[in-house]
């Protein structure tokens, strides 16, 4: 029961962050450890800034939201 609630809470937190363009940091760290152990891993703060720039940076000129 409590573990279910904890999981729901975790997903809600992830959903809220992804809504504003920040994916899950733990997933990123795990991905880097498993597949690119030789590369440096960004700290949470670096990760956050990188994602923030990417969300509004445009580049390929895609609007990130609807009207």
């Amino acid at each position: 029961m409590f573990s279910d609630l904890a999981r729901v809470g975790k997903y809600l937190g992830q959903a809220a962050r992804l809504m504003v363009g920040v994916p899950d940091y733990d997933t990123y760290v795990q991905h880097m450890r498993l597949t690119h152990p030789e590369l440096p891993v960004m700290t949470y703060e670096e990760f956050f800034r990188e994602r923030q720039e990417a969300r509004y940076g445009g580049g390929d000129g895609r609007p990130g939201r609807c009207c």
Partner: protein
Amino acid sequence: MQNIQRHLIWGAVAILGASALAVVALHRGETINALWLVIAAVCTYLIAYRYYSLFIADRVMELDPKRMTPAVRHNDGLDYVPTNKYVLFGHHFAAIAGAGPLVGPVLAAQMGYLPGMLWILAGVVFAGAVQDFMILFISTRRDGRSLGDLVKSELGTVPGVIALFGTFMIMIIILAVLALIVVKALAGSPWGSFTVAATIPIALLMGVYSRYLRPGRIGEMSLIGFVLLMASIIYGGDIAASPVWGPMFTFDGKQLTWMLIGYGFIASVLPVWLLLAPRDYLSTFLKIGTILGLAIGIAIVAPNLQMPALTKFIDGSGPVWAGSLFPFLFITIACGAVSGFHALISSGTTPKLLDNEKNARAIGYGGMLMESFVAMMALVAASVIDPGVYFAMNSPAAVIGTTAQQAAEVISQWGFVVTPDVLTQTARDVGENTIISRAGGAPTLAVGMAHILSGFIGGKTMMAFWYHFAILFEALFILTAVDAGTRAGRFMLQDLLGTFVPSMRKMDSIVASLLATALCVAAWGFFLYQGVVDPLGGINTLWPLFGIGNQMLAGVALMLATVVLFKMKRQRFAWVTVMPTIWLLMCTLTAGWEKVFDANPKIGFLAAANKYQAALDKGELLAPAKNIDQMHQIILNNQIDAGMAALFIFLVISILVFAVPACRKALAESKRTDLETPFEAMPAGAQV
């Protein structure tokens, strides 16, 4: 046996939905409870999702859970991340839901709630959700590429550039019409202006907090921002009442226009973390929270609809917007039924986050059903208020005059009996000086929401709070859209101009970026200013242009989907996309044609230009022009609007001209000719 039992339950849902729909459709005279609409809508969504979206997923697309998705193939933990279905649903919904589904249904309510409701339901099931789902599928099978790229690769370079250019023009109109909604809501409202102005320092504070004080703590800073926002709404009433501060925050439409134009330019060149990102966080969370709150409010309060099912304005003589039910209802409600802009989102970040193809159904089709539900709630909110108040708020001053006395008299003659007292009392209830001619949908929605939410929390004394909460909620995400849209528009423009002047393409060049930003702001600023000074309220001109543009983009997306189905040799299922394409082309081409050429100056832009030209030739001045220059300006504006509508027509026909031969060519081939990324199996261990 079990199989039959399963279908029996869905049969019961279908019967419940059909009964609710029958109650809504056949009900005459007495008011009707809003819950009937909600039940009919929810049952329709459930049945459509269970059967039609499953048919599309299994038979039309043949979704393959064992096929690797771009998120898995390119997983980098950043742009490409296999994401839980429910988490991604939230992301996708937050990206597609905006002001569009809230405003369109409010404007459409002038014909009564029934036509709007039927179009929202039929539109989403057969067109809107199909488009979102198809584009998500097509983009996912092509490494998450964007709509412009997809059109380019499946149809050719020329249609690709045309689609990109069309998208840019639609974006300009969207930004102008969104900004116009804010201007209309804030003009002469010191309370509203103060709270919206307060969001700027609040966002700056949040920006600094999340950059330097507690980097990346989104939850904390959003909470701080939220508390400050609520405080600004609560104390906004005192500011508005103060003899010193009140006048300082009282602006007319033109002042607000120039402020918004200046703001749009500055905000879109500032670093994103300072202003845009924090306001985006606030507006996203507020948007989701308010939508949930409104749904709960409607369920608990169960308000009665005051608006009749049909009004006499289905003949096209309505004061809110001109034009008959066909085609104009179907472009007035764009988002919520079908929105071309979603094709950009479905081919944007979402396909890069999809963990498994089979979940495209819940996210693409399901996400759009959810947005449709938001549109339904907006329709309910507009219909629970007194129709007399509705028409007083949405009719232009040129039609109903500027005092409560005049407005009540004119509106009562239309058959919606209302007294001047009701109009002034409603204004007082929501803490405003006047509610007359507050076109644009947002204030009407705010009154409706205040009506529902105050019945749920706080009663009548909280009405003014809820009204300004609703205005702030809309203004907040509109300002975010203006800022982010100007940025995206700037990149698109640099990309487009770069085709001709390569130095424009340098995204980091200060000159190129400032020039592109200025051009972008000037473009939407022009349409905004023109809308603000329009005697018929501006919405009358700009909203149809927006609707036509947005539905045409949907037409382009559905044509792309049709071509892809033909190229996949699944042409026997092409009716799934051809049917909504034909309907959308009929609506938008008719509406576009009428907006350009109709002889009625209220509808046709050229007729309006000619009317002013004829008066000018005789040396007369027509309102709102006060001198010859303004007469010339109005003529030019109408000609430009006509040009815009003609451009949209050209855009969609030219894509059609490319799409039809592409389908015939694919039909003649014996093998598949689409450009899908080759099949790769999901790696072992990945969720299937």
